[in-house]
Symmetry: D2
Subunit: 277 residues, 4 copies
């Protein structure tokens, strides 16, 4: 039997669960998993259900719209593999981790292509029979280069764009083109150490714990909604290069966990935060 993911993001009011469950019941659908969250301060309601049975998404959507508040966002996604495009620069640890998972079938997604602004990673990517496109930024304006990247991404119509240590700053135009689709890994425990070389900053500050943060990309650099974070203990014996080496493990695990959440449609964006159901 086919499985669908029902996602509802709306204003909280009495009877929401009743109204939704009534329609699902009337359509003879099973609720395989169900999670809800009400944010009292903002009076928002979020719901994610895995439902199974015979259904026509358009008809179900229409029925749900009739009983839910007007401002509701409702999605019914067939449970299936999503397409992703990866952007990288020179560092291979996050990209390599994705490739190994992809190769073993553990990553439940199709990697359609890898795009980089340098050619260093071509050899690695092509080992796995994935298209690699080098779009050099040499002698180009930022906007012109980015336009080429946007164009190349669009050829693959990905559901998610993963910045796997892509070391270039994106313009608002990029974000506009792929709203809530761009996942980044920042190599610090945000909001500590925003910007360039967080490991050097962390070393200079003498912290005893370092971390990594996976977040949606928005117009504000390193300020997008946080999806996942993790940390690692360090001590005075770590140079900043030691921190960077140790931090790579955290970076790839955090990115991998965040991507898994996106692949399972578990993340709602809510202001500058995420609700994960």
């Amino acid at each position: 039997m086919k499985e669908y993911i029902l996602l509802i993001d709306t204003i909280d009011e009495k009877g929401l669960v009743y109204n939704v469950s009534k329609i699902l019941f009337a359509n003879h659908l099973n609720i395989e998993q169900n999670a809800e969250f009400v944010d009292k301060n903002s009076n928002k309601f979020f719901m994610r259900s895995i439902i199974s049975g015979e259904l026509n998404p358009d008809i179900l959507l229409k029925e749900l719209k009739e009983v839910l508040p007007k401002e509701s966002t409702i999605k019914i996604n067939l449970k299936s593999k999503k397409d992703i495009v990866i952007l990288a620069t020179k560092e291979s640890h996050v990209l390599g981790d994705l490739l190994i998972r992809y190769n073993s079938g553990e990553l439940d997604a199709n990697i359609k292509a890898v795009i980089a602004n340098h050619d260093y990673l071509r050899d690695l990517v092509e080992k796995f029979d994935i298209p690699f496109h080098c779009i050099s930024a040499d002698d180009m304006e930022r906007e012109a280069h980015e336009d080429l990247v946007i164009e190349k991404i669009k050829e693959y119509s990905p559901d998610i764009i993963v910045l796997a240590k892509y070391m270039r700053i994106l313009t608002p135009k990029f974000v506009e083109n792929f709203p809530k689709q761009v996942l980044n890994i920042h190599h610090s425990f945000l909001p500590a150490f925003i910007g360039a070389n967080p490991y050097k900053q962390a070393h200079h500050r003498g912290v005893k714990i370092i971390g990594a943060t996976a977040h949606y990309v928005t117009d504000d650099l390193d300020e997008g909604p946080i999806i996942a974070q993790d940390v690692l203990r360090v001590d005075h014996t770590y140079s900043w290069e030691d921190m960077r080496r140790a931090g790579r493990n955290v970076e790839k695990v955090v990115l991998s966990n965040a991507l898994q959440l996106l692949l399972e449609d578990k993340v709602f964006v809510f202001g500058n935060k995420t609700v994960i159901l």
Copy 2:
């Protein structure tokens, strides 16, 4: 407006959420929080809702019973402070932590009494104006001593009995008297190091991480359903006494977290496991 916690533990079947939410809606009740879990393997359904409004628990229970499977366990608890009795021996760190939280109002419970098999902790407990009963086990059979303890506990009719480093083994009779009411903290990362002196065992095995486990007490020593666990890194410089000292922080935090879950009615027991909603 009064708040109630609705707890349902039943067999999964189509329409459960619909049926429950229909009754809540018909009674003009608000769902303030809602969480469900379906265990596919065992076909079990668990639900915890915080509901608000005017309600008669007996009538609501009757209405819910009519639409839920016969084998269902349904509880409707008024949200209010629970009564607890603490059992201790000589060690003060877990007990002391509870007393400090109680004193500041952070522990949302009434500590009715502390019962111990030694008199060491009397001075500490009485500082906080809590009844302290020393029931010595000297020159007594295990059963006879335990009978006195059971009797004393029953005088206070507690909702929860907290073993705060109570170093005596309980008989099945004790557990029978207080089913799913007895919370213990074991000073290891169970199931590693069951039994006596886990820190010595951990030191001898040369582990790099130690932990603590809060669990319900059942007839099998250290085998009851686990509610919360946490860990701490150690290294070769730790003697077993160092591990014990460092471990105390984990013990008290884990017990405190587990107790908080019980006080909020968040824990379902399911076979030898817990579901925490």
Copy 3:
């Protein structure tokens, strides 16, 4: 046999370990524990040894000075209990934790007094027969109030001053009076969320991990050398008050760990960082 802690903070050069160990050997002293650290970038050398035997600290110091670089800082401390004075305001969790440890003998220090700018915690402190001084800041200039606090602290000549959620900002004068003696607990994972109400800031930013930081107090608020940090996972269901409640466990454990390091003379300050041997 008496035990001493030898602390050396100097410029690295060839033969340091040889020169120090030669003198210890010539004096028939045992090295019970030894740890060194060389910071290559700054060419600094740190050493902490626990030594036992019959020794005259003044003579040993003189002998060590002769073989070590001129700029060396050398200390020989008899291993013994240190005196501490605690400053607090209204919150009791960190203070209470220290009191419980003190009461059980686990805290290897003498709490000489608690000083607070409110009278809320008097009852708690006096339960443990520790002098409590309320020095109200009402209707006073910051400097005048602080002068009274400094004066009161000095009556007790403490080795360490612990800010156990003391919610007032200290002036440079305070820090000058007690250089490298003031330990603070900040309720965030510094350098994230400097300043007031870090839990509100953390909640607003939507972080998935919160933390606490114990650090030496310097003239720059929340910028002193970090001694210990720890973290805790949170999620979208946490209000900022939930974060605060959960964070309290981390605060008290981190402060307790940092204080333990100070009591054992394990912390060297090095620029704005710490070396922990």
Copy 4:
């Protein structure tokens, strides 16, 4: 200038540090890093120094032997890349992680070959131009198969043999052939869940934290000296397959950290424990 790692494992006695540092000083050698540990219970002394300068290892060894207790184990290793051989079966996550690190230069070792008892991973390994040998165990006695594996390993004279999810039990003969050279990753937080399918065991026990353990292989299955451990939180929503998937991240990070320690000669074996300097 060349760097060497000096490793001393001996009985503790007065003057050890003095005697060793005297010889290093007399030989005009720099101590770049130094760490010692004394185990009071067993009266054992461990020392690891990174030394630089012009030296003849044989002569230095002779000089050190003269001043150290007879039973001392002394090693002087030129700091250089070690050779490793990897054994695997079908699972690719740990192997793949090593390959990606190797490919990027992050793994400071030479992977000489991968040997497996199935042919599944050939394609992956050969992408990285590393020899892959499938030695099938079909229709063979355990000992006969193992003899072939031992023989093949010996062709490469590796310093370290990494069991990257090699799912066969090794005989004492294997261990004898490669004493203190075989590193295994066990997919549980040892000593919990020894033996087959630890994730199923963990799921059945209802633990709230799972882990992984890297250890030296000895004759007792899963009982060898532990080198590194790490953990991961799980909850009631995890099936055992979910635990396995989540656990893979921990497995590869723990193995990677343990291997790094071996590559830097930081691990001493001491009874059934490790001292890590």
